[in-house]
């Protein structure tokens, strides 16, 4: 049981971290900070869609990660 708890915490922290990074990346992409849209050849028309995907993915990852951290 102890091993499962440790694994859950590690995976939870990793998944939450991924989620937070995805949301931050989504914002950077949406507001075109550091000219990232040019760097990634992302068309401005599709950027809101990318942001939506990244935000939903990030939110699910953060919530799922928190369930594991506070198991």
């Amino acid at each position: 049981m102890e091993v499962r708890k440790i694994v859950s915490k590690v995976v939870g922290v990793a998944q939450s971290g991924i989620g937070v990074l995805a949301i931050i990346f989504g914002y950077i992409l949406y507001y075109n900070l550091f000219d990232i849209q040019d760097m990634l050849n992302a068309s401005a028309q599709n950027v809101p869609l990318y942001f939506l995907f990244l935000f939903i993915f990030g939110l699910i990852s953060v919530i799922s990660g928190f369930f594991l951290i506070y198991e």
Binding site: R4, S8, V11, G12, A14, I60, S64, F67, L68
Partner: protein, 488 residues
């Protein structure tokens, strides 16, 4: 100490000041101008009319507060009367309205300060004030009550000076020419517009678990604060329209400051600005108390996470509810979208009024033998008048309010059904989503590697995607195979 763990430390004076402080916000200092442009000098009829409409519902608050003196106010009344979804919706709107009202008060305070110090950062000032009052509230409800009493006493003294100077030495002919330039419709619009200045006094009912001798103190404090507000607002409106014609007042951003400047010079303008700041802070204080107690009650019944229910050992207050509710308020205040915040406050409070009157009528039928230290006079006409007048006011409010209200209602339904589903099932659902995302990303990587998808990626990004996929799959499996079936 109440059996909930909350301490009964508020007497009649503190409770009444909570009611007055909850209602007198920055609103009256800035809204009187537009209301006067709608109703003309008839504003001195509009304000007591609003007060009487408010009094109908305050009578219901007094009866229910004395009969069911436990934390949560409207939510607790609706829970005893109806239970289930109606109770949750009442609590939800009450919590949201108070959070919005706290944000509105803090941003209002910051705007008033910005008249004196134009260089200040408005959202930052608002956030600092929320933090200060959160700390005061964590220190204990008595400290919050004492802070409120001090602020309201100073505020009432300043308003009394304003009235006396206006009455004895103010400009004007001494006689008031009654006028209503837009007729009945203008008076109705002004009533709907300025009604918000009476909202907030029901905070007494929310803190009822912390009031000494509640069966006597609650009805007295509620009725006393409602009548005091009618007197204060009517007298202020009278000297204001007597001193300056309504058509000029309508153009002023801060009409009371303008009139005080006319009557008392720059000192008067400064004095009224200080009064505006105190009013904003007192309503901020009251709404922080109210929203945390509603969150506490919702948590007590399993709708909100259990953390909201924790009581501080030393200070005897629901400190987690105070902190988390204040964080929500800070997020709202930081946006600075004051119009949105104002609309939400109006809608939530008016819906709350209707539900309280309905709860009173339901309880009279359902529990006729319930001990009622105070009874609403002229029942059932008083609560029916409360419901009808509240709903009529809703008709004169901007259409955006109704749209926003519908959105908040949908959010409430989502929150209610999620809380009914329970922690375990939500966790399984998120585990499933995680697993699905992980498998999808793994499939994408495989298709890119085998050339099925014509997308070339640098190796570092490919490894990152593999890491994301592995983590998501593992997290999904761990969440689905959770050993605990905890339902909150």
């Amino acid at each position: 100490m109440d059996k909930s763990g909350l301490r009964r430390e508020l007497g009649l004076l503190h409770a009444t000041m909570f009611g007055i402080g909850g209602a007198i916000s920055a609103g009256v200092f800035v809204m009187l101008g537009h209301a006067t442009s709608l109703a003309g000098a008839a504003i001195i009829i509009v304000l007591p009319l609003c007060g009487i409409i408010n009094l109908f519902t305050m009578c219901s608050y007094a009866e229910l507060g004395a009969a069911i003196p436990s934390a949560g106010g409207e939510y607790t009344f609706a829970k005893v009367a109806y239970g289930g979804l109606v109770a949750f919706l009442t609590g939800w709107f009450e919590w949201i309205s108070n959070a919005f009202f706290a944000a509105l008060s803090s941003v209002g305070f910051a705007y008033i300060v910005s008249y004196i110090f134009p260089t200040i950062n408005v959202p930052l000032t608002a956030i600092i004030m929320i933090i200060i009052f959160t700390v005061i509230n964590i220190r204990g409800v008595k400290e919050a009550g004492t802070a409120e009493t001090m602020m309201i006493v100073v505020l009432l003294i300043i308003l009394a000076i304003y009235f006396l100077v206006g009455w004895l030495y103010g400009p004007g002919t001494g006689t008031l020419q009654m006028s209503a330039p837009k007729g009945f419709l203008g008076i109705a619009e002004a009533t709907a517009y300025i009604f918000v200045v009476y909202l907030g006094a029901e905070a007494i009912a929310v803190t009822q678990a912390e009031i000494k001798n509640p069966s006597k103190t609650i009805p007295r404090a509620i009725i006393l604060s409602a009548i005091t507000l009618i007197v204060v607002y009517t007298l202020i409106a009278y000297v204001t329209v007597r001193a300056v014609p309504p058509e000029i007042l309508g153009k002023e951003v801060s009409p009371l400051t303008y009139v005080a400047g006319k009557m008392m010079g720059p000192l008067g303008a400064i004095l009224i600005t200080i009064a505006g700041m105190i009013a904003a802070l007192s309503s901020l204080n009251t709404s922080i108390v109210a929203q945390s107690r509603v969150a506490y009650a919702l948590s007590r019944d399993g709708y909100f996470p259990a953390a909201f229910m924790k009581i501080h050992r030393r200070f005897g207050v629901p400190h987690v509810a105070v902190i988390l509710s204040s964080l929500f308020t800070i997020a709202l205040a930081a946006t600075g979208v004051i119009q949105f915040v104002g609309y939400a406050t109006d809608f939530g409070f008016i819906i709350g009024f209707t539900l309280v009157n309905l709860s009173l009528m339901k309880l009279r039928q359902k529990k006729p033998n319930l001990e009622r230290p105070f009874k609403v006079p002229l029942y059932p006409f008083t609560p029916i008048a409360g419901i009808v007048t509240s709903l009529v006011l809703l008709l004169f409010i901007d259409m955006k309010v109704l749209t926003l209200g519908a959105g908040l209602g949908v959010l409430a339904l989502m929150a209610y059904y999620l809380s009914m589903v329970g922690h375990y099932r939500i966790r399984i659902a998120f585990g499933g989503m995680s697993l699905g995302i992980g498998v999808f990303v793994a499939l994408l990587v495989y298709m890119m590697e085998t050339g099925l998808v014509p997308l070339v990626m640098p190796p570092i990004l490919l490894y990152a995607l593999i890491f994301v996929s592995a983590t998501s799959i593992l997290a999904g499996v761990l969440n689905i195979t959770t050993p605990t079936r905890k339902i909150f």
